[in-house]
Point group: C2
Chain length 129, copies 2
């Protein structure tokens, strides 16, 4: 992957701004600095960065995919399907599973921002079953 200008700006944007930005949000912020950029360029740059492991892409149940810079400490999320609450979980348990899979299936998992959907405790109390 080349050191293209859009790559650099996307990474800087994702590191500076809040996490979990949509492609359109990233596109908007980039246009502030680099007005001529095309949207397909942003989508393709995000795809490249995701494939290279520098950003994560996730469907968190919003309308659009969200992107996040992948730093040293990885994390994952639980998303409540009822109230949309987002819980952050650390990497340890997840990596244990990934290691198991790597041993059992000889497959190197690179998923770096896992989203699991379900129901939080409050929503289960509020509406059991």
């Amino acid at each position: 992957m080349r050191a293209s200008s859009v790559n650099q700006i996307i990474l800087k944007t994702l590191e500076q701004d809040q996490s979990h930005l949509t492609a359109q949000q990233i596109y908007g912020r980039i246009r502030d600095n680099l007005p001529a950029v095309n949207q397909s360029t942003v989508y393709r740059a995000l795809e490249r960065l995701a494939h290279a492991g520098q950003v994560s892409v996730s469907d968190m149940g919003l309308g659009a995919a969200v992107y996040e810079a992948v730093g040293g400490e990885q994390h994952h999320h639980l998303v409540c399907q009822e109230c949309n609450q987002v819980i952050t979980i650390d990497d340890a348990a997840i990596q244990a599973l990934f290691n198991d899979i790597e041993r059992q299936h000889d497959f190197q998992v690179v998923t770096n921002h896992l989203i699991l959907f379900g129901r939080c405790s409050a929503c289960r109390e509020r509406m059991p079953e």
Copy 2:
């Protein structure tokens, strides 16, 4: 959730046809029987069925989301990002993780068709690092 006609047809379609159909493929098959159906109705019916746990929705790295009927035996997949090979894995290890999460975070995971991306052994041999 009501017993709407579109719900029934979608479930029948997913059970009869091959797995991992896109919304457009489902839409196409439904139109064969029920020509007047609108595509947004199909999307919303799929969303309902997914929320009810009767079908799974997954991004498997194709252009579009894929849907599958959820039967008694659940399964999950590993998808190679290089060669697009799809490996099916069984539920045991995954449910163990989900149980851990449920204990540690008091969060009931309902994800029923987990997709993990990575690199298969052949691709790692072919292009190490």
